[in-house]
Symmetry: C2
Subunit: 147 residues, 2 copies
Amino acid sequence: MTEVHLRDALDTLKSTGVRITPQRHAILEFIIQSMSHPTADDIYKALESKFPSMSVATVYNNLRVFREAGLVKELTYGDSSSRFDFVTNDHYHMICDACGKIVDFHYPGLDEVEHLASHLTGFDVSYHRMEIYGVCPTCKEHATKVQ
Amino acid sequence: MTEVHLRDALDTLKSTGVRITPQRHAILEFIIQSMSHPTADDIYKALESKFPSMSVATVYNNLRVFREAGLVKELTYGDSSSRFDFVTNDHYHMICDACGKIVDFHYPGLDEVEHLASHLTGFDVSYHRMEIYGVCPTCKEHATKVQ
DNA sequence: ATACTTATTGTAACAATTATAATCAAAGAA
DNA sequence: TTCTTTGATTATAATTGTTACAATAAGTAT
């Protein structure tokens, strides 16, 4: 699964004339196989043993390249730094208010909402995103133990 | 309408023991009557004629106070700074990819999605947010003219 | 090989936000 | 009232995520 995604992603890059460097390959691979919506710094730290001389700027540069190619989405929440999510099929995010963990879940597209919104506002809709906030099972358990 | 909201908000603050200073009153009033989801800097600039000596820190401090009291929500998008939205009844945001304008629209709560997500992930849900992206009527018109 | 383009690196700059310390204002107790 | 305490504001320094820039390195094509 991961391999298929990676191969597709590399094809997409190649077809748009973007050179595939070892750094780019590694960053992309990390985002795809990591299920954790990493920050730029997460990626930087995860790869520094493999690429000791890689600059943070390279991570940011390439995240921008990937974003422009439509391969990753940038997620900004209240906390300091952006998280990056590999674009596969439609899914939404469940975010724990206590520990910040992000869990994906799938739901059939909210076409009806998009249509209504478009009708009400006159916008041409391109996409939407949704986040649900709450407390994850682990934090719930912890909270009840603490009491 | 605005006045009612402001009075309610001040009551909420009073009931939680938060002192209502002239700055707080002005910031709250501005957020409520402004329909534009202002940034901290927008608020600071808008009030500097009224409070020439007010510090940016005061704006940030009080936005945090209001957020903790549940009066405002912080919205973070890709762009640099957070926007602040007075909490009234459930609504979502339509955002223009071209000019960044944010337009509210109302939609009956997405209870079904919340329930499914809760069931799938085991989270206790507290709330959700959704943004729809697209191109606003003004930018559409402009784009066609430019061609 | 040579020239040309593109990517990476290292570092400086920037901008939003937060932390800190000092001053100021309000509220309560004596 | 005056004193004391608490909380708010101010001004500024520090922090942090991100971007800009110039120099170097690596590919690509002629």
